[in-house]
């Protein structure tokens, strides 16, 4: 996974915003996953079809964070989502 990638969300994955967090349900496994407010914002951006690079740019405008830290954490989160079958590389 790299910053030029986009991701797609499989049809069997549902996500709902509850408060400032997001809860994801994998209908295939019946497992639930939670995203904190930052993760929820990332999920919102990647589900809009933005590349990871564009997602980074948006987040840099919203949070006080070093670019390299954000890029690393974003890639790590997306890789974890991918490992759990919640997103696929676009």
């Amino acid at each position: 996974m790299n910053l030029s990638d986009t991701v797609v969300i499989p049809p069997e994955v549902m996500a709902r915003q509850v408060g400032d967090e997001t809860v994801i349900l994998d209908l295939a496994s019946g497992n639930y996953f939670g995203l904190d407010p930052v993760g929820a914002r990332i999920w919102q951006l990647i589900s809009e079809g933005k590349t990871l690079a564009d997602t980074c740019e948006v987040l840099l405008g919203e949070y006080e964070v070093a670019r390299e830290d954000l890029e690393r954490d974003l890639i790590r989160l997306v890789q974890e989502l991918q490992s759990r079958g919640l997103v696929n590389r676009g």
């Binding site: 408060g19 967090e21 809860v23 295939a28």
Partner: protein, 299 residues
Amino acid sequence: MNSVAIAKRARKVSVTFLEHNARPQVPVAGAAFYQWVAPDGSLWTLFYRQGRDYLLRFPGLADFEVSADGCQVAAWAAPGGTSATVQHLYLNQVLPLALSRQGKLVLHASAVELADRAVAFIGESGRGKSTLAASFATGGVPFLTDDGLHLEWAGDELTVHPSHPSIRLWADSQEALVRVGAAAAPALDFTTKTRLLASPALPFCDQARPLGRVYFLGDGLARSATIERAKPAVTLINLIRNSFLLDITQQEMLAHHFEHISRIANLPIHYHLDYPRRYEDLALVREAIIRHSASGEAK
């Protein structure tokens, strides 16, 4: 063979229940797709598929066949089992699962009526849902259910539909809260809990009420009644953990359930409630709940 058609008040759905004579619990072809385990580690319920329908087996107690649409339930006591046990298991365990097949949302929760609204208490077995409901009821506050809380949307308002007019209590709670000689259902084979029937001394609300507050019961470590706002994501997971859903592998039903629960979790009505589990403190706990549930803004 007994047949009991159970029509739910104020609802457009019903479940037809048919109790047959006792029969042996013969081995079932194929593995159970799900199971409930009792707190002592023993198998409590095994879930099997039978074509599009379901078999729910309570080992040594009873078998229930639930139609795919959740509208029909047939029951057989195990050899030596009693009709009272069958009826009890049906009301407390099987009926909520059957309703879930109809797309209805049923939670492990008790509820009482305060100021024309339902106040619900949610928690795992042993947290005090029934004791709290009985404490209110013996103080004159009607209860809507002691378990199996049925929720439905009426437009933008979430309503609680009353369940069976009875409360199940352990002997110590019954002794502490209820007048001697209260009407009770027949004793059961597998539990020492008594099912106390609604009466003027244990009033029951038989009408649907809008849901006003939901309290998730803590583990009893608080020194006094404490109430804190519950975060929506935590609320959602707690609601899921405490809801009945017969078959989580049916994706359409699971998606509907998730949608329903998510909508409820976003309502500003959910709180954590903890209090010391002492009967002598229940009056103060009730007062705290009454005050809090009457307050306007969610804290």
